[in-house]
Amino acid sequence: MDLNYSPEETAFRDEVRGWIRANLPDALRDKVLNYRELSKDDLLSWHRTLAKKGWVAPFWPKEWGGTDWTVVQRYIFEEECEAAGCPPVVAFGVRMCAPVLLRFGTDAQKQRFLPRIYNGDDFWVQGYSEPGSGSDLASLKTRAVREGDHYVVTGQKIWTTLGHYGDWIFCLVRTNANTEKRQDGISFLLIDMKTPGITVRPIVLMDQGHEVNEVFFDEVKVPAEHLVHEQDKGWTVAKYLLGYERMGTGRIAFSKRELARVKDMAGKAMKNGRPLLDDPRFRDRLSRVEVELMALEITNMRFLDQLRGGRAPGAEVSLLKIKGTEIQQAITELAMQAAGPLAQAFRPVNGDEGFDRLTASLFPRYCNLRKATIYAGSNEIQRNIIAKATLGL
């Protein structure tokens, strides 16, 4: 065991850091670090920059563009990207659809979709949740009826993150309503969002932002060749994918950057004539979060290290999700608290001269991050998974 970077790892870190410095546009970085909304172009332009360098999907197999990096290198890369304020690589294509295609897709599907995912030609989104199917995902009702060489899809998806940017959506649909187990009779379909019959409606969240959507399907014709794996066997695919979905939710490198920013803010905010950072009440709560994050950084790498050799992530990512999201939320709470009364101003009414946009973003971010313990399987569902899969309860 050695938890210090080797000289090779340090050299790799320097290489990544240098490349980002040379290639990340200032305007984009400022948007990220000031918590401004990122447009589809913002997200895809950075995706394409990484793709050109060959770094957009490090964990893919080498033949499809993966980098063969070690777990440590991947973490270093992630950490450098977050620290520098790079936009995120949206997970739905690279981290979710692609692993599914690599595991279950036909050669034709791989050839058609993987290069486009890699290059950022298509913006992928995820169609899982429905109004009546949240934690109980297998109860989903959106139905797909086979008619000749097509499926006809009718129903509704909800909480579709960035659905308004989507070019393609991967969906779980019910192809058989008469099975004994509800998990049987579900299929995994790839759907072009330009197909007639699809309507996307925004859902505004309590931070006033537009991030999630409802997606309606009204007799949408989907070519049968866009079925992944076998008909009625989509649950196998769904479970495989959920592990990958959760893998990205710990966001440890992101939390490290955010924690450093809170420290910075609390070092500047004053209380009783001295920095808030030196106030023992505030500092103790901050330190406990910092220590939890230090531990999680190691836990994360210990677990990922165990996944070498291509085993799909299992219950261990549930643990990372639980702790990682708790930490993310705690940091937004500390940040808002560091701003004190100044955290109240949200939007200027009479022109924005002198308006402190960064401080104004702290309260909505605190609100927004409540999602983290709910999405990708609520933290209660993650505990159910660990109880069953790891503990055998």
Partner: protein, 376 residues
């Protein structure tokens, strides 16, 4: 970076665990802790025989030159079995002060005997008013002839009664809370003027209050330079803190396993209580605490060997904060989930509860280390 134990470390773990599983059952431990000495000479000899007493010491003295990660392997196993022998006091504290700060002559005189199991040690540091402050030393050592004379008191010295040889922190100059002016002095436990009052602890280890009245030692009793002991004390206490963090990880592992087993076998309302979601989620949180404690203990054990003093302080305090919190969380939950049985002397879980409670405060509780972490 590398997150696995090496083959040698796995072998060390297997050897020690095999011995503890057969020779250190809960019943065997019960008999040992009820003896007059409170530990077993046979077990101590066996630990020497297996080389466990020599893990961190240099090969030239008969040790293995092991890293703190090697010691982590040992401490996890000792923690899981709730070993009551004075291993931490001898190998982790007294022996370390000699190995790191002692002269050639002291090395030769002490370390081979220690490694062979013929010499036990303790570190007499804490005083009644010092809490966890390593600078607070009022026991005095005054020049007397060619050597020194010690006067003062130490309290709750870990395994002070079992020790043949004590390392005593003594003030040779300055005020009671000055960083400078603290010296480390070797004193035979049976030397004239040394009075030892031994106590059982609730977790079945031993501590001692020790009074020193005009205790005469020679010039060669000093470890390191006169008045410059503080840095070495802090280094060794940080080392020992990393070790008890690893010991806690082992005890937490036991609490986790025993509680999980209990949830699967204890039946109420016609079903195993582990089928209840309210208990499942609490069991998952125990697992999370275990994994997080293990990670931070790894970090501490790696960094005490490789980091400069400032980073070492920061990481060790971080570890102790997390370990203290995990000790409290897991021990309390383990008793709660065991119900009434968890309260009983009869079950190992209550002994584990007590050991974890002690470790939570050993070498500084979470509050102490939160303060130190914030300053580092």
């Amino acid at each position: 970076m590398d997150f696995e134990y090496s083959d040698e470390q796995r072998l060390l773990s297997e050897t020690l665990r095999k011995f503890l599983n057969t020779g250190y059952s809960f019943d065997a431990r019960d008999k040992i802790m009820k003896t007059a000495a409170g530990y077993s000479d046979d077990v101590w000899a066996a630990l020497a025989e297996m080389g466990i007493l020599g893990v961190p010491f240099a090969a030239e003295h008969g040790g293995f030159g092991g890293t703190t990660v090697d010691m982590m392997v040992v401490m996890e196993a000792l923690g899981e079995a709730l070993v009551v022998e004075p291993y931490l006091a001898t190998v982790g504290l007294g022996g370390q002060l000699v190995a790191r700060g002692g002269s050639e002559a002291q090395h030769t005189r002490i370390l081979p005997a220690l490694i062979a199991g013929k010499l036990k040690m303790a570190f007499a540091q804490t005083e009644r008013g010092s809490r966890y402050d390593l600078r607070q030393v009022s026991l005095r050592a005054k020049k007397a002839g060619d050597g020194w004379a010690l006067d003062g008191e130490k309290c709750t010295v870990l395994h002070g009664g079992a020790a043949d040889l004590l390392v005593v922190s003594a003030r040779t100059s300055g005020g009671d809370s000055d960083e400078r002016g603290i010296s480390l002095v070797l004193v035979e436990r049976t030397a004239p003027g040394v009075k030892v009052s031994e106590y059982r602890t609730l977790d079945n280890q031993r501590v001692a209050d020790i009074t020193f009245t005009n205790v005469q030692v020679g010039r060669d009793a000093l470890i390191g330079a006169e008045g410059a002991g503080h840095a070495l004390i802090e280094e060794v206490v940080d080392y020992a803190t990393a070790l008890v963090s690893a010991e806690a990880v082992g005890a937490i592992k036991y609490a986790h396993d025993a509680t999980l087993d209990y949830l699967k076998t204890r039946r109420q309302f016609g079903v195993p209580i582990g089928t209840f979601q309210a208990l499942q989620h609490r069991m998952v949180d125990i697992l999370i605490s275990y994994e997080q404690a293990k990670s931070i203990a790894c970090l501490a054990c790696v960094k005490v060997d490789t980091a400069a003093a400032a980073e070492r302080r920061r990481v060790v305090s971080a570890a102790k904060i997390k370990i203290a919190d995990a000790c409290r969380h897991v021990s309390q939950e383990a008793v709660q989930l065991h119900g009434g049985m968890g309260m009983t002397e009869e079950l190992k879980i209550s002994h584990t509860f007590r050991r974890l409670t002690t470790i939570a405060q050993l070498f500084g509780d979470a509050d102490h280390h939160l303060e130190r972490f914030a300053q580092s």
